[in-house]
């Protein structure tokens, strides 16, 4: 609007000059005319401000620049370019040259418009403003211009137009220069600048006007007025400056304090991060470390400086890297992840860690990064692994079912009820209970009459020491039968006690048998010796020595029997044969027959000696019981016997028969029983021998359909050298005695059933384990 006013006023003035109207030439103001060149310069300057957005507008600034510069040069060099009355010719005596100030202002305005540099532009427009203001204020103060031949006074209108133009230019280029920028700021600095400028502008002007007025009224003279203006202005400015300085100081102190606080907070955060017992790090978008705290570096065996720039994968176990990358991708929307992973130390060892990572989005000053906290949980992982291993060990103990294991709850009252909450298979089998009876099975319900008392004794130990040493106790099975067990218990916690139970009924049974045998032995010895029945060690030793001596004598006896009884027999047989062959003609037929009888008797005697020896050897030979395939053994023996006898007997052997026996001895049993069966059935055409088991209780039978014998003699046949068939069937009568001895050594029994002519059956059993010395 100011620019428009400037252009309009310039046009009015030029019209005034064209129609020679003094009022228009003065632009209705003051007594001095606006010179045509000044009007042209200001007009173009105003026009260029209106068109400042266009390149063309700037070029218009050349006009005031040229006019102002040429006019100023005319003043300086007292020279006339002839530009002053180029447009109009004034009246004689009236100078047409524009005023000095207008010329300078015009030139400066031109520079301000044309100049590219904003600071220069602003500087020159400032000069224009200064000239405009000075001239306007001077007119307002009523300054009078002394008439001068060559110098034109500035017109009032020109002064105002110059001021208006400078305002218009600054407004049009607002914020485009350092001064205006400072002026127009919206913040405190802008406000302060504007306020101070207003004071600087108004205060001197007011005091100036006041002094002028006082001087004109002649209240005091000029020097005093100048002193008054100076002093009043100085005091007012000082006051204002002090006030704003104080504001500045307060503001500065506030900011300093804020910075101090911020620095302290930074230091605190830094200390927290550096001294944290967690590993803390910052990773950039390419996953390289940009910050690592002391704890993390120490955890991995580096210094913090060494880790800066390392790729985060370098500290992650290869197997976990993929996971890390995947999580980094997944982190994007959610922003946070929490994972367990393995880290690698510099020396290659492994650290188990929990990583909590947060994605921090990019800001104006910082790019996106990830802040991660890493906690070392190696100890915890190791502890967990140890716990698992320990649990597995105890579980295998529990599930191995070598001993019964039960977790029991003990009622601490007098009743001392023991309730089983859980138990392994071995325990359940022992007590014959199903899994669904647990928890809640009351073991006290299986106590024998004195079981409760035993339990209470055990409870006392548990209360006192937390455990009770193994003790023996009888329990009842489901059917009411007893079994002996060894029980040991230990308290785990308030509620639970663990009990170990081993079924020892077999051992206890064996021990009781032994005790009974000892009792019988003691009684018998007592009866023998008339003593009190007690045996001391010395007597036992003497007994054992006597037994060894007797065995020794027996050994010597049988040895000499085998040598010395045979030698004469050999002589009898040898010389008899010599008689038969070498001296045959000296004997008649009857003599020959007698010699044959002598030789047969000799052979028989020799056989008897052999059998007697084998019978005595059997008692001394140690026994070795192992599982035996009875069917296979009976089959082999049967084949051998059939071949030897040449009989066409039919064998029927039950398949799948097994037992536990000394295989050599059991073979002797079958050799004799099968041999007898074949022998005594050899006279039948449909001879048949069966080997079978009875009821699967370990009893075996050997049956033939041969001659048989009278049951009245069934017991006698097992005595040595006892024969029921004297001449029909050969044999020494030692075989069944041998068989009985072997069966008895195996803790078994043998019996025979028969009717004459109806075949015979021999039944024998072998006890499962016990070995009995005959």
């Amino acid at each position: 609007m100011c620019a428009t006013a400037v252009v309009a006023a310039s046009v009015v003035v030029l019209v005034g000059w064209a129609i020679d109207n003094l009022l228009l030439k003065r632009a209705f103001l003051g007594s001095v005319m606006v010179r045509p060149n000044a009007a042209v310069a200001l007009g173009f300057a105003g026009l260029s401000v209106l068109l400042i957005r266009h390149r063309f507008g700037r070029l218009l600034g050349i006009v005031p620049l040229v006019i102002g510069a040429l006019t100023t040069a005319e003043y300086l060099y007292r020279f006339d370019f002839g530009i002053d009355d180029l447009l109009f010719h004034g009246d004689p005596g009236v100078p047409m040259r524009m005023s000095v100030r207008a010329a300078i202002a015009s030139a400066c305005a031109g520079v301000a418009i044309v100049a590219r540099h904003r600071a220069i532009s602003q500087f020159f427009s400032g000069i224009v403003g200064f000239i405009g203001t000075l001239s306007t204020v001077a007119y307002l103060y009523g300054a009078e211009f002394l008439p001068h031949a060559s110098v034109t006074p500035i017109a009032f209108a020109t002064a105002i137009l110059i001021l208006l133009w400078s305002i218009a230019f600054i407004a049009a280029t607002s914020g485009h220069g350092p001064v205006t920028e400072t002026f127009l700021r919206e913040d405190q600095w802008g406000r302060t600048t504007r306020q101070l400028s207003l004071v600087a502008l108004i205060v001197p002007a007011l005091f100036g006007a006041l002094c002028l007025f006082e001087t004109k009224e002649e209240l005091f003279d000029l020097p005093f007025a100048v002193a008054l203006i100076t002093t009043a202005t100085s005091f007012t400015l000082i006051g204002t400056i002090v006030r704003y300085t104080a504001d500045l100081r307060v503001e500065d102190e506030r900011r300093t304090a804020a910075e101090e606080a911020s620095r302290a907070a930074d230091a605190l955060y830094r200390t927290i991060v550096e001294t944290s017992q967690e590993g803390i790090c910052v990773v950039d978008a390419s996953r390289h470390f940009t910050f690592v705290n002391q704890h993390l570096a120490a955890m991995l065996g580096y210094s913090p400086a060494e880790m800066i720039g390392m790729h985060s994968d370098e500290i992650v176990h290869p197997d976990d890297r993929v996971g890390v990358a995947e999580r980094a991708a997944a982190r994007r929307p959610a922003g946070r992840t929490r994972t367990e992973l393995r880290l690698l130390r510099r020396d290659g060892s492994i650290v188990h860690a929990i990583s909590a990572a947060t994605l921090v989005p990019a800001t104006a000053n910082t790019p996106e990064f990830v802040l991660a906290t890493l906690s070392d949980i190696t100890d915890r992982v190791a502890a967990e692994a140890a716990l698992r291993a320990s649990e597995a060990r105890f579980r295998s103990l529990y599930e191995a079912n070598l001993v019964g294991v039960a977790f029991v709850n003990i009622d601490r009252t007098e009743a001392a009820t023991v309730t089983v909450t859980d138990a392994n298979d071995a325990f359940r089998q022992m007590f014959e209970i199903e899994a669904n009876e647990l928890p809640g099975f009351a073991w006290s319900a299986r106590n024998t009459t004195d079981g409760a008392a035993t339990d209470q004794g055990a409870m006392w130990h548990l209360r006192e020491t937390g455990r009770c040493a193994p003790f023996e106790k009888d329990f009842l099975r489901r059917d009411g039968s007893r079994f002996a067990a060894i029980v040991a218990m230990a308290t785990i916690d308030e509620e639970t006690t663990v009990a170990f139970v081993i079924d020892v009924s077999e051992k206890v049974e064996a021990r009781r048998t032994l005790e009974r045998a000892h009792e019988i032995l003691s009684t018998r010895l007592a009866a023998l010796e008339g003593g009190d029945g007690s045996l001391d060690v010395r007597e036992l030793d003497a007994l054992a020595a006597r037994l060894a001596e007797a065995n020794e004598e027996l050994e010597t006896f049988s040895y000499s029997v085998s040598h010395d009884l045979r030698a004469p027999l050999r002589a009898i047989d040898g010389f008899s044969r010599e008689l038969q062959t070498g001296h045959a003609d000296a004997l008649d037929a009857q003599g020959q027959k007698y010699l044959a009888r002598i030789r047969a008797a000799t052979q028989r005697m020799s056989q008897l000696i052999d059998d007697l020896l084998s019978l005595s050897r059997l008692s001394r030979k140690p026994m070795n019981r192992i599982p035996v395939d009875v069917t296979a053994m009976a089959g082999e023996v049967a084949n051998e016997v059939r071949e030897r006898s040449g009989s066409n007997v039919t064998f029927s052997i039950e398949p799948g028969l097994t037992t536990s026996a000394d295989p050599h001895l059991l073979r002797v049993v079958f050799e004799n029983l099968i041999g007898n069966a074949v022998k005594f059935s050899s006279k039948r055409d449909d001879a048949r021998v069966e080997i079978f088991s009875v009821d699967g209780d370990g009893t075996f039978g050997v049956r033939d359909n041969g001659a048989g014998f009278d049951s009245r003699y069934a017991v006698k046949i097992f005595a040595p050298f006892q024969r029921l068939h004297t001449t029909e069937y050969e044999g020494t009568g030692i075989g069944l005695a041998l068989v009985q001895r072997i069966v008895r050594r195996h803790g078994g029994m043998i019996r025979a059933e028969s009717q004459p002519g109806d075949g015979a059956t021999f039944f024998f059993t072998l006890s499962p384990t016990a070995e009995v010395t005959p």
Binding site: A567, L569, R577
Partner: protein, 143 residues
Amino acid sequence: MNRILLVEDNEDDIDLTLLAFQRSRIANEVVVARDGVEALTYLHGNADTPPLPLPTVVLLDLKLPRIDGFEVLRQIRAHAATRVLPVVVLTSSAQERDLVQTYASGANSYIVKPVDFEQFLDSAQQIGLYWLMLNSNPPPEGS
């Protein structure tokens, strides 16, 4: 002619053995020693007697007066001159104990004297066949 040294105290057994050899057509000279001392004197000699020429085979009974068969066998094996001399143990005993001890002491063979003379003849024939005809003795030491 190869000699046989028979170490045996029982006159019946001596006669039967000689008879058996005779029946088996074994014509070797048989020298009889009637106890262990006599056998060892024959083989190794003593202060008065030098050792006689070694037999091809020694038939040794175990039950002997003075020094028994085991000791004779031990000394035969201990002596350099007779270390490799074939020794066949002839005995009435079929006891395992004797058998094991005999072989452990270094006997070359062990034969149980059967009561049946027919079997005894078989044994005698086999001794002759094996030890006197087939088996070639190692040369005496030093030769």
